[in-house]
């Protein structure tokens, strides 16, 4: 079942994420795709996360469609102006890509080409609006298209924004994104379900689907690193302790992720699992969380 169909049939949604390689050897990436195939409704393909130069999202999304896996094409505003963004969206449609996640993108200063010129001609909100226009058969300039797109658009939200003002602003922006056409949201990683529940209460009744983010904790060190460096991510001390004490880190990582995913099932509309290199563990997370019945093999 494709992502859109699952979303429209009110299923609990399960998505995963793969980051393209730095280079052209896609063999490991395609192996990960085969492992996830049939276990998730869609796989997001990232667009140079943390502004580190990599193989492009569109090409990898196209490879996924060849394997009958529904991709979510992540598009950031970091590197392309409005001409390039619109043209790439038309190209993606022609290549069989049907879902887009619109993001602002990290600043190039954070990545491995810090001297690069940041573009940000549009941002996540205006990009969503533009996709809506392409779907309606017009470009940003109002010119008619010979053949429109019909993308399912999504966006992101950071429920763990660390100050009250930052959270207010996240929610105001979320409302703007919904108004601009975001049919689903994939959130930043959630480790504190109570905090997330409070966020969900604030956005109750919003006409969109919310997929809670789960990042597999690979080690206590990774958890501490994220607490220090990743905006809106807070791994509570008790989870860090569980990782420290666990004899089998991989098994513990899967167990924690499954527990979080299971908890999210009662709180929101889906789960977005980011394994960051441990994609092969994702099916086990899905099984242990009791989510596999929702997803069917094509």
């Amino acid at each position: 079942m494709g992502f859109r169909q699952a979303l429209e049939s009110e299923e609990f949604l399960v998505t995963a994420e793969i980051g393209p390689v730095k280079g052209t050897d896609v063999s490991a990436l395609l192996e990960d795709v085969s492992v996830l195939r049939g276990r998730v409704h869609a796989i997001n393909i990232t667009d140079m996360p943390s502004s580190v130069m990599r193989l492009g999202s569109m090409a990898v999304c196209h490879l996924l469609t060849d394997m009958a896996v529904d991709p979510v094409f992540q598009v950031t505003c970091r590197d392309r102006n409005r001409l390039a963004l619109q043209s790439d969206l038309l190209s993606a449609w022609v290549l069989g890509i049907r879902n887009v996640l619109a993001l602002t993108g990290d600043h190039p200063a954070l990545g491995d080409h810090p001297q690069a010129r940041p573009v940000f001609d549009l941002d996540s909100v205006s990009l969503l609006q533009v996709i809506g226009q392409l779907n309606a058969g017009f470009d940003m300039a109002g010119k008619g298209l010979k053949g429109a797109t019909d993308f399912l658009c999504g966006a992101v939200v950071n429920p763990g924004a660390d100050t009250e003002d930052a959270l207010d602003l996240q929610i105001i922006k979320m409302e703007k994104k919904i108004e601009a056409g975001a049919r689903f949201f994939q959130t930043q990683a959630i480790y504190d379900l109570e905090l997330f529940e409070r966020f969900m209460k604030r956005v109750k009744g919003y006409r969109t689907k919310i997929l809670g983010g789960v990042i597999l904790l690979k080690s206590a060190g990774m958890a501490r690193f994220m607490n220090k460096n990743v905006a809106g991510v807070h791994v509570p001390d008790h989870l860090i302790k569980e990782m420290v004490d666990a004899p089998d880190k991989v098994q513990k990582s899967i167990e924690i992720a499954a527990r979080l995913a299971k908890g999210l099932k009662d709180l929101c509309d889906g789960v977005h699992i980011m394994a960051i290199g441990w994609e092969k563990m994702v099916p086990q997370v899905i099984s242990e969380a009791g989510l596999s019945e929702g997803v069917q093999t094509k």
């Binding site: 602002t104 609006q129 940003m140």
Partner: protein, 209 residues
Amino acid sequence: MIAPYKRILILGCSTCTTVCSAGGPKECRELAESLVAGRGDLYVEQDMVPRQCAEKFVARFEGKVRDFEAVLSMACGNGVQVMAKRFPNKPVLPALNTEFIGIEKEPGVWTEMCRACGDCILWRTAGICPVTRCAKGLLNGPCGGSREGRCEVSKDLPCAWQEIYQGLKRLGLTDYLKSGVQIKSWAVHPGRLTKGDEKPKHGLTGVGV
């Protein structure tokens, strides 16, 4: 940059770069001393132009410039270019890197406030420019990258959007944040501006640093 020349005229600028402690008499003198100290064969003189971005002030130095192999300008990029245009047969070299249009936040600290983008929205952003002061120049609210109210690019930078939000809350104008999707119209550069009521004879020169 100055290696090929033995006689150099350092020209400071008495307006903006003097105010910015970058191209005033003191900085010109320090530059002259350090250049001469590093090279025994170098002859350096220094002088101040009242405003290097105005050709009428630059023209006064014609006689002096003739006696030197190169001019080292302590003006902003505008001043260097006006000087280079006025003395097309003389190498005019920039002594400074013009960084931005800023303000002196505290002694010795300058911050960029305005990009001269030509499409001012300060009325709806509590007098804080997100085009300039948000590292991504976002118009529809912050990205998700801020931590403790600081920008993802540097802990030294406050998140402009959190400052805008606080300002709009104080003013009771938070509705501005919610109204409509904002998309910027970028002006064509190089810019050219003509004011009908005082049309200049030789074209306009730009603002200073």
